[in-house]
């Protein structure tokens, strides 16, 4: 490139920033020409780790960092390096931030510091500067401003590219989405609401009947009014008994109708609620199994179980709230309130006197108590966690004689739960009597004012408040107070409900990171040619695990992949199977980019035998036939025989129908592995991946499995990752991965002759295996 400036493809707002006027002037004053810089990017920290805007500028032959001069430093330039002096540029991650470093005179020097907020920018800058140092062409332009990790609307950093922005989600939309879910049940929902209204109306009837009973039947007055009938002539005893029986009859009828309404309403509510929950759970689960492995890296299984099992349950809660919960009570409050004002508006006004106090006190109480409730839930889940850990590891606990320690640990968790629960219980039990006291104060007021009105009316020939009216009023008052206290929790309930719904929708809205191509290519039966072309990838956006890896494999070739732990061997497999997509480069199977291949076809063409064979709860037969549900018993038997599994399966009384527990409980590690090999064999994929398939088993099992694998891999493209290098001796080629790159590639003999990394690894293993193994010792003893 010489002195040629890097290519610019449109202005980048991030990498070609305008310098502040003061800094530009100061730099000019220092003899620099900042406008000639092809790169001008700012960071938020200085090298003393204080917040300060520092700029990094790169010109054709040098780079420098600069900041507006301060009292501490009069020069705007903080560091200046010539391109010739720099051998390498890299970023180094610290805690909460990192550094851009340059290798100068054999030492990595810090060029600038950045917080994690700016980390992505400098991970983008580093390769550009590296290319600049190597005098390669560098492109800087508007395309560098694209940041898929940020919300395009508000700029919030997302949990992963393509994630939903929590800040921009419309909350009302969530509510309406739940309502939309109820659309198929609209008719039933309308009936439920009608029943709710009827139930409220009916609940008021007994109160009215009490009034009639007192004023019309039990009153000593000779002349009475019952509803619309005014009896001018005195009612006889027999007449009163008849009236009493009539009222009691009506009361019984009301109770009967109410019971029927409640039963119908409850049945409908359960029907709709459980159906919605079922639908939602199904949708969430169907979506979950389709989501990529990357999703499960971010969320724990426990979290997902909560979302599927508990959050979806909130949908049922929503329906119940409509029929008997807060929404029903809101309606009751309005209806009864109107009735109270209709009966006696003056008295109704007095009843409202304690209302503001109750509302304020309840609201204040819940605000205070809610964190304590959360704490109880949290403590309780931690207690379950502690119990789960202790019981799962009970063998280790016993082996190390740590029972007293675990008892202590459990006791601490248990005590914490007890204390937190007591805290909440004390608060709740102290609060309720206070609210009751407020209500009672209101009642006393109503008794007094209402009592006065009854006394005054008693002296009048007609009209005014009767004893029955007062008791009717009191009856309704109870119905008015009951929902008032609970309605203060409406916000909390709505918040919880919307949050839970949102958590459910969050899963449903999560895009598939490993998505099917718009027009995928079919590949029903691959030949098995694989090409990795300049592939780079990192699980963490800041730390690439695979760096520019290229190699190709011919159909039917057996390839061993070796390297130290964490070198990136399994990542290669994860990329080949599209558990993750490459960040850069591409992987081809039979000449087609795997991102273009129909996902089902790709998975059908690649079979995997994992280090930890996963068996599902169920029969051995079902586990072998997991990938091919149409497999005949003959095929299953053949696969099991080839996998050296038949013999041990037949030793079980129930043979292939033997039921295995969670994760294959009941079988040894070697047996589980042989079942999983049989599964892979039955699947019959043209490409087979063995991810340390024999690393966790004893020598005898390994020999059986090696024998099985020799049969399984014959004629297939095979990629075998192994720690025991002796198992790869017969591979056509061995790829040695080191630090995410291909360090060596060749046959065993070629690599041994090269005396590099593979040679050293083999040497180490040979040294280690010289000592007698336990198996060898047992065998020796028996001999």
């Amino acid at each position: 490139m010489g002195r040629r400036k890097p290519e610019l493809s449109g202005q980048s707002r991030v990498l070609q920033k305008e310098l502040p006027e003061a800094l530009e002037q100061a730099l000019k004053h220092a003899g620099l020409a900042p406008r000639e810089a092809w790169l001008c990017v700012d960071t938020d920290l200085n090298l003393a780790s204080d917040y300060e805007q520092v700029f990094l500028c790169a010109e054709a032959d040098r780079l420098y960092t600069a900041a507006v001069p301060t009292a501490k430093s009069s020069s705007p330039v903080r560091l200046m390096l010539t391109r010739e002096s720099i051998r390498e540029i890299r970023t180094r991650q610290g805690v909460g931030g990192g550094f851009l470093e340059a290798l100068v005179e054999g030492i990595y020097v810090e060029v600038l510091a950045f917080s994690n907020a700016r980390s992505d920018v400098f991970h983008k800058v580093a390769p550009k500067l590296r290319a600049w140092c190597e005098k390669k062409p560098v492109a800087v332009g508007a395309e560098d401003d694209v940041d898929t990790r940020r919300c395009p609307k508000c700029g919030l950093t997302l949990a992963f590219p393509g994630d939903l922005c929590q800040r921009c989600l419309k909350r009302s939309a969530t509510f309406f989405r739940v309502l939309k879910l109820m659309r198929p049940y609209a008719g039933k929902a309308a009936i439920m609401m009608a029943l709710v209204l009827a139930a409220i109306g009916l609940a008021m009837v007994p109160q009215k009947l009490v009034q009639l009973l007192i004023d019309g039947v039990l009153s000593p007055h000779k002349v009475v009014s019952v509803l619309w009938w005014h009896f001018d002539t005195p009612i006889t005893r027999n007449g009163k008994v008849t009236l009493l029986l009539l009222l009691i009859g009506v009361l019984m009828l009301m109770y009967l109708i109410t019971a029927v309404l409640q039963a119908v309403s409850g049945r409908l509510s359960s029907q709709v609620g459980t159906r919605i929950t079922y639908d939602m759970r199904k949708r969430v689960f169907d979506h979950l199994v389709k989501l990529g492995v990357d999703f499960y890296d971010r969320y724990s299984t426990g979290q997902m179980m909560t979302r599927v099992a508990i959050d979806t349950q909130q949908m049922q809660g929503f329906v119940q709230q409509l029929t008997s919960g807060l929404l029903a009570q809101l309606i009751q409050l309005v209806v009864v309130g109107v009735a109270l004002f209709t009966i006696n508006w003056e008295l109704a006004l007095y009843t409202l006197v304690p209302a503001p106090f109750v509302v304020v006190a309840t609201r204040f109480f819940w605000k205070k108590i809610y964190p304590h409730y959360y704490r109880v839930q949290d403590a309780s889940s931690k207690l379950h966690g502690a119990l789960n850990t202790i019981l799962s590891g009970i063998r280790v606990v016993k082996a190390f004689g740590q029972e007293p320690r675990e008892e202590g640990r459990f006791d601490r968790s248990n005590s914490y739960v007890r204390d937190r629960e007591r805290e909440v219980q004390y608060a709740v039990t102290a609060f309720h009597p206070k609210v009751s006291l407020l209500f009672q104060a209101g009642s006393i007021l109503v008794w007094y004012i209402g009592g006065l009105q009854v006394i005054d009316a008693a002296g009048r020939p007609a009209g005014g408040m009767t004893t029955g009216d007062l008791l009717f009023f009191f009856g309704l008052l109870g119905m008015f107070w009951a929902p008032l206290t609970q309605l203060t929790q409406l916000t909390n309930w709505l918040t919880n409900f919307l949050t839970a719904s949102q958590r459910v929708f969050e899963i449903l809205d999560t895009n598939y990171q490993v998505a099917e191509a718009a027009e995928p290519k079919a590949l029903p039966a691959a030949k098995g040619a694989i090409v990795f072309e300049n592939v780079s990838f990192g699980y963490n956006r800041r730390e690439p695990v695979i760096k520019n890896v290229s190699f190709s494999i011919a159909p039917g070739e057996h390839i061993g992949v070796v390297g130290k732990s964490g070198s990136g061997k399994t990542t290669l497999i994860n990329l080949l199977t599209r558990f993750y997509d490459v960040d850069e480069g591409r992987i081809l199977v039979d000449g087609i980019d795997i991102r273009q291949i129909k996902l089902d076809d790709l998975r059908r063409n690649v079979g995997i035998v994992l280090q930890e064979p996963f068996l599902f709860r169920g029969g051995i037969w079902a586990n072998i036939a997991y990938g091919r549900t149409d497999a005949t018993p003959e095929l299953v038997l053949s696969a099991a025989k080839a996998a050296n599994a038949h013999e041990f399966i037949m030793r079980h009384p129930l043979g292939y129908d033997t039921y295995v527990g969670e994760r294959g409980a009941g079988l040894s590690g070697g047996e589980r592995q042989r079942v999983s090999i049989a599964r892979a064999l039955l699947y019959d994929p043209p490409i087979l991946v063995l991810d340390e398939a024999t690393s966790n088993i004893d020598t005898e099992s390994e020999q059986l499995i090696q024998g099985a694998l020799a049969r399984v891999t014959a004629g297939r493209t095979t990629l075998a990752i192994a720690h025991r290098l002796s198992t790869l001796r017969n591979c056509n080629r061995i790829i040695v991965i080191d630090g995410g790159t291909v360090a060596e590639c060749g046959t065993h003999d070629e690599l041994m002759a090269g005396q590099a990394l593979y040679y050293r690894l083999v040497k180490i293993q040979t040294e280690l295996s010289r000592g007698s193994t336990v198996d060898a010792m047992i065998a020796g003893g028996q001999a």
Binding site: S49, V95, G96, E101, I107, S115, S119, Y370, G739
Partner: protein, 182 residues
């Protein structure tokens, strides 16, 4: 002690053995380009050194690992058991290196915390000035620091430390535990 070798050149001590550094066997100083250097007597000078805590909570002034960064990775030169054993100017260089590696502003006061559908907006006073940040309302965003402290992690994965929540004024504690109750 056996050593790591690269191209038959010794580049560091045996990584399987813990070597505690003492003032009589090493000198910590600034070298070329003001980078941190460590000279091990009778061994070599390590340039471009950085420091890392082994027990940042339990022993904030001890068990500091000094690492040398080279083109293919990092090697541990050794561990300082107690920084106070070293001359103050050398200990200061290590502390400075630590403060650079651990960019974790320490929160002195919580001015405001507000929840908004899964996010918490936090306004705080830190040793590096006032800061406002957004964190996700989930347990992984506020992790334990010892028995009483918490590290808050914002949406950009920046970290903020409250060494001991119980030392905050009562109203601020209440504000804090209202959201971070675990």
């Amino acid at each position: 002690m056996s050593a790591i070798e690269k191209n038959n050149e010794r580049i560091g001590p045996d990584p399987t053995i813990t070597r505690f550094l003492t003032p009589d066997m090493c000198r910590i100083h600034l070298g070329n380009m003001s980078a941190l250097h460590v000279t091990i007597v009778g061994e070599r000078i390590y340039g471009g050194v950085f420091a890392a805590y082994a027990f940042p909570v339990g022993h904030p002034d001890g068990y500091v690992s000094l690492l040398h960064s080279h083109s293919t990775g990092e090697i541990e030169i050794g561990i300082i058991r107690d920084l106070n054993e070293f001359p103050p100017e050398q200990a200061q260089l290590v502390r400075h290196a630590l403060s650079k590696r651990y960019f974790v502003p320490v929160i002195h006061a919580i001015d405001e915390m507000a929840w908004q559908f899964g996010l918490i907006g936090v306004d705080v006073q830190t040793d590096k000035g006032p800061r406002s940040f957004l964190m996700r309302w989930q347990q992984t965003s506020a992790v334990d620091y010892g028995h009483r402290g918490k590290v808050l992690i914002d949406v950009d994965e920046n970290r903020y430390l409250i060494p001991d929540v119980s030392t905050l004024p009562a109203d601020q504690q209440q504000r804090f535990v209202r959201f971070i109750y675990w």
